[in-house]
């Protein structure tokens, strides 16, 4: 578990990654630098072999310098192997920890008041967490590249000061020139990726709505809409690839021209005997090689900018406040009351229930019903008035106390990957007999009978193979499975046929109608309302009528809403 405090800024988040991994990172820096320096030495070593062995024909020199080359490669290879491995391990651990930190915030017991869509939060926990980890990798390679450039410069100056100056000034200049086209390329690449993403997004959107499309014969229109976007993506991709080709050509051409200049100067100095043939080879080899570490150094600012943008998004998300307010009190009794509550769709609403009561709430306006459920779940603070449990305002209760007393089951059904059993009874608190009773009460026995494995049948992510009615009944069984003093059910049977709904209503009564368990049913189903001890009609944000379902049937407004 991550226990460290949330870093205040994006830079602090990135710095924390570096600081909490400082020792393995230091080891990785050292080994990777060793590797880069050895890579730099390879062309120099080739020059030495040509100078001391090939030109002289001395076998002894060949053996010694050859062994030197092998030793150089051995160090280089192990340096990279272990340096990269340590660094990679740290990077992956950092990504994992940031990912878990994001998930922990999103799944906080009191929620996160973030306006991100689930998909956007997912991208924070994957793509952005990865960018934050990758900054450590960039730093490691930058350090290594820096050392190798320093070593190369020292070597060049020790061979020849003029050549050293030409190379040390010339190579960065060439890289800088090649960068001229970079902004254009990144602009085109971004445009390309955006068009591809748009086309892909539309394609997946169309496939998700495939049934709807087929029902109305819109395949041809859908296909032509996609074709248009695909053609945009094609045009953008050609532009982007062409500029990538231009950059590759430009880089190759400029370094080739620079090599010609170095060859010219080095050739003349070798001709005049100021440097040896082997040194000529070394200089030329170093010139070709230096572009690589310098390129790495050039990339660092772009990498840092990308990582910083990701880190900023993550920090912003981690600082979002909890969705549900909580305090330090516990509820004395489990009496749920609303007093003079103002909220969207509510105009001084008063509601209360007696312990043990099944209260039916026939709410005319969907906005009012939505607000009511969110108020009771603690996700919406009342604009005025009080929502209280056992006389204590909800926001002053501890989360534990609230959860021990009150369960609000939303209309929208979320089921989870696992088994039917794990969905109905996630805490494995019930035996088979109790589960059977629950499935009967929620008329979900037929769902269990779909598969020979019964309760242990696998459930795919979000139970997508089940119909809306099946999903609703499983969610209802799950709500009824919790032996909670106060249960709020919001439209639990909208996708269920009338006969089944009638059976479910009786099942809810059987499960919740005994003892001091209180149940609030927010619904306009007559079958459910008929089972309530008392029904209130809520219109224009306040209670306008009250009584049994039977009594209220004579109320015109009630009949219009409920009896259709």
């Amino acid at each position: 578990m991550v226990t460290s405090p949330i870093p205040p800024t994006a830079w602090a988040l990135l710095l924390r990654g570096l600081m909490r991994n400082r020792w393995p990172m230091a080891a990785s820096f050292a080994l990777l630098s060793l590797w880069q320096v050895c890579e730099t030495m390879v062309p120099v070593m080739i020059g030495v072999i040509i100078d001391r062995a090939v030109t002289t024909g001395e076998v002894r020199e060949l053996v010694i310098t050859g062994l030197g080359l092998v030793l150089l490669f051995t160090v280089l290879s192990y340096g990279y192997r272990f340096g990269a491995r340590i660094g990679f391990g740290v990077v992956q651990r950092e990504m994992h920890e940031v990912r878990v930190e994001i998930a922990a915030h999103a799944l906080h017991r009191r929620g996160a008041r973030s306006n991100l869509m689930p998909g956007e939060t997912l991208s924070l926990a994957t793509a952005d967490a990865e960018m934050v980890g990758l900054v450590l990798r960039s730093i490691a390679f930058t350090v290594a590249a820096f050392f190798s450039v320093v070593v190369a410069a020292v070597l060049l100056f020790s061979i020849d000061v003029v050549l050293g100056l030409v190379v040390v000034i010339g190579v960065p200049l060439v890289l800088l020139l090649a960068q001229v086209v970079t902004p254009a390329i990144s602009r085109r690449t971004e445009h390309q990726q955006a068009t591809i993403a748009e086309a892909t997004g539309v394609a997946t959107d169309l496939i998700k709505g495939l049934r709807v499309l087929k029902g109305i014969g819109a395949e041809a229109v859908a296909g032509s809409r996609y074709r248009r976007l695909s053609q945009h993506a094609r045009t953008a991709s050609i532009a982007s690839t062409s500029s990538y080709g231009l950059m590759t050509g430009l880089t190759a051409g400029l370094s080739g021209l620079f090599l010609a200049v170095v060859a010219l100067i080095a050739g003349h100095r070798a001709l005049s005997g100021e440097i040896t043939v082997g040194e000529l080879v070394a200089v030329v080899g170093l010139t070709q090689y230096l572009a690589e570490p310098l390129g790495m150094l050039g990339d660092i600012s772009a990498h840092a900018a990308r990582s910083h943008a990701s880190a900023r998004r993550i920090v912003t998300f981690l600082h979002t406040p909890p969705l549900v307010e909580a305090g330090g009190s516990s509820a004395g009794s489990h009496e749920l009351t609303l007093r003079g509550v103002h909220a969207p769709g509510m105009d001084g609403l008063d509601l209360t229930s007696a312990p043990g009561e099944i209260l039916g709430l026939a709410v005319a306006d969907p906005t009012t019903a939505g607000s009511l459920v969110r108020l009771l779940a603690g996700e919406l603070p009342p604009g005025a008035g009080v929502v209280a449990l056992g006389g204590v305002p909800l926001a002053e209760l501890t989360t534990d106390s609230r959860h021990a007393q009150l369960l609000v089951s939303p209309h929208h059904v979320d089921l989870f990957e696992g088994t039917l059993r794990s969905n109905v009874d996630p805490l494995s608190a019930l035996d088979d007999a109790a589960l059977q009773t629950l499935l009967e009460a929620s008329s979900a026995v037929d769902v269990a009978a779909l598969d020979p494995a019964g309760l242990d049948q696998p459930v795919s992510a979000d139970a997508s193979t089940w119909s809306g009615g099946q999903r609703q009944r499983i969610a209802l069984a799950r709500a009824l499975a919790v032996d909670i003093p106060l249960l709020v059910l919001h439209d639990p049977t909208t996708a269920v046929d009338a006969v089944t709904e009638h059976r479910i209503a009786a099942g809810i009564r059987a499960m919740r109608g005994t003892g001091r368990r209180t149940t609030w049913l927010v619904t306009s189903s007559p079958a459910l309302l008929a089972q309530a001890d008392r029904v209130v009609l809520v219109r224009e944000g306040r209670v306008v009528a009250e009584g049994s379902h039977h009594d209220l049937a004579h109320d015109a407004a009630y009949a219009e809403l409920v009896l259709r």
């Binding site: 394609a203 010609a260 001709l271 000529l280």
Partner: protein
């Protein structure tokens, strides 16, 4: 309906089929392809010049030649650099002009095929299978075409031409260089079989990690309500850690593979220099030639490294391409050839039956005739076969027994588009397509003008709230844009029917997901679209059957009662029982 563990996924093309398809698509862009090939060859040849000239400078120095000769060699390097730069640019740009249109063609074919697929086929494969093909696979191929493929071709050309260059210097130096090849091959043969399964596992583990995250994020409210958020976080943490473990293991393998490629490098370099040493001693080649050979070989490290490094990406692009080709190559659905009837006639189902699993019929011997303009409601308990009947009547599901005809023409003989223009279906699964409100409605008729779109919206009483949206008809909905309630989404679906104006419409619990408070408005809208056209309404809210011309009561796959609402109520059978339950009497 039950969750299947073994999925019958859509076909994946073989390597030969994929290559054949890719070739067929690319070869229609012959000119850019030829230009690209020629430019790659020129770029490869130009790349040989520099080390060769450097070798000759070494010889010139040793021979104490005139300074002008060195100038000449440097100029040749410069010219080759310019030619190579130009050729590289042209080769990549032309490759894009051949490859991108071909890829666009492929992904459009794939989507057309996907849209034409039978819903049952898609569900058997899992929607995820198709989604990942039109989504991730299409994107992965498109993105790799920009950098991966040019890098691949570039590196291959460079490696090939450098080998030629080594042989051109001296055949023995060429052979010495080639001796490194088996070591690279050994490295690959060590690495690929070991890493392959890990990569597959890594992808699975990352998929499970994403799944755990998505479930947690989407279901956060429910998880909190049941105090399950801690458990889900543990699942996420475990899955993330598992994926991390596998990734780190694969990387350790990769570094060991790089060590093997370092070994191949040092062996090759020693052999080239050693051979050169003996050849110079025997006076067979010059020091300059050995220098050139060593430089050739040293310069290969980067392209070979790039090849090895992108090997995985090339493989995964190939796999994505094969998955796209698999869909593109699926045979087209057999299309009927009869002309679509021009005059409204009855929709007739004669003795239709259906079994999703052989031997377990969900619908048996159902005969229904719906006259143009008639409103027929279907009621019954869950599992009575109402949805199956609706799907058969709409022609999206072919019955396994019996026949369906429209104005006397069999559904089998009608072209799908023709049938669809006459019979439309709205089911309870709604979907808000990403785009504007106008786009959502004009899905059935792209040419429709705003006047007809507004008329259609007004017909289903949706114009009021649409006009109240921030940008009216231009308001973007779906995806992350403006959120519509399920009732509003279904109203848009009903508006499409108004605009398309088919003879018949099948409404399968089209109001179910709306929630009780929103259902009434939606029901009014549904009633509006059935006015003036024949309709089959699968109803769970019995208000819908009350207003129908005729009610069919289904039980265990058969029609057990039919008649008007009043007749059935008086008959005191199953319908009367349903009505009593419904009205809470």
């Amino acid at each position: 309906m039950s969750a299947t563990t073994e999925r019958d996924i859509l076909p994946i093309a073989t390597r030969a089929e994929t290559s054949a398809l890719a070739w067929r698509l690319v070869k229609s862009h012959r000119l850019p392809l030829i230009l690209s090939t020629i430019s790659f060859v020129i770029a490869g040849l130009a790349a040989l010049v520099a080390p060769w000239m450097l070798g000759s400078i070494v010889d010139l120095v040793r021979e104490d030649a005139a300074p002008a000769d060195i100038n000449r060699a440097a100029v040749i390097i410069a010219v080759a650099a310019l030619v190579g730069a130009l050729a590289t640019w042209v080769s990549v740009a032309c490759l894009a002009r051949a490859g991108e249109p071909a890829l666009a063609q492929l992904r459009e074919d794939v989507l057309d095929k996907a849209l034409a697929l039978d819903s049952a086929r898609v569900e058997a494969a899992g929607t995820g299978d198709l989604l990942s093909r039109v989504g991730d696979d299409a994107r992965s191929v498109a993105e790799s075409l920009t950098e991966i493929i040019p890098t691949l071709v570039n590196s291959l050309v460079l490696v090939g031409f450098t080998a030629v260059g080594l042989f051109a210097l001296d055949w023995r130096l060429g052979i010495a260089g080639l001796c490194a090849v088996p070591f690279y091959v050994l490295g690959l043969r060590w690495y690929l079989p070991r890493s392959g399964p890990f990569y597959a596992r890594e992808r699975v583990a990352q998929g499970e990690r994403a799944q755990a995250l998505v479930s947690g994020l989407q279901g956060a409210a429910t998880l909190r309500a049941y105090s399950l958020e801690g458990g889900q976080l543990e699942v996420i943490t475990r899955r993330s850690d598992e994926a991390r473990g596998i990734t780190v293991t694969v990387f350790a393998l990769l570094t060991r593979f790089f060590a093997r490629s370092n070994r191949a490098e040092v062996i090759g370099l020693c052999l080239v220099l050693g051979t050169g040493f003996w050849l110079v001693r025997a006076d067979e080649v010059t020091v300059g030639a050995v220098t050139a050979a060593a430089l050739y070989f040293h310069r290969l490290f980067n392209p070979i490294g790039a090849l090895l490094f992108i090997f995985d990406q090339v493989q995964s692009t190939g796999a994505s391409l094969a998955r796209l080709a698999g869909v593109a190559q699926m045979p087209p659905a057999p299309a009927g050839t009869a002309t679509t009837p021009g005059e409204p006639g009855p929709l007739v189902l004669s003795a239709v039956g259906h079994a999703y699993v052989e031997g377990r019929p969900v619908l048996s011997d159902v005969t229904v005739t719906i006259a143009p303009g008639e409103r027929v409601a279907v009621v019954g308990a869950t599992g009575a076969g109402k949805t199956t009947l609706g799907a058969i009547a709409a022609g999206v599901l072919p019955p396994t027994a019996g026949a369906a005809t429209l104005a006397g023409v069999s559904y089998d003989d009608l072209a799908p588009a023709g049938l669809r223009s006459r019979v439309a279906l709205i089911s309870q699964d709604f979907h808000v397509f990403s785009g504007t409100v106008r786009d959502a409605v004009t899905l059935v008729d792209e040419a429709a003008d705003d006047v007809s779109v507004r008329a259609a919206l007004a017909g289903v009483s949706a114009l009021g709230w649409v006009d109240a949206l921030p940008d009216g008809l231009d308001t973007r909905v779906g995806g992350g844009a403006h959120h519509l309630t399920p009732a509003q989404a279904q109203q848009l679906a009903l508006a499409r029917i108004e605009l398309a104006d088919p003879w018949f419409v099948v409404l399968d619990e089209a109001t179910a997901e709306a929630g009780s408070s929103g259902a009434r408005d939606l029901e009014q809208a549904a009633l509006a679209v059935t006015r003036g056209r024949g309709s089959l309404v699968v109803a769970h809210r019995l208000t819908q059957s009350e207003s129908a011309d005729r009610v069919l009561v289904m039980h265990e796959g058969r029609i057990v009662e039919q008649g008007s609402h009043d007749e059935l109520l008086h008959a005191g059978g199953r319908y009367a029982e349903l009505w009593a339950a419904w009205s809470g009497a």
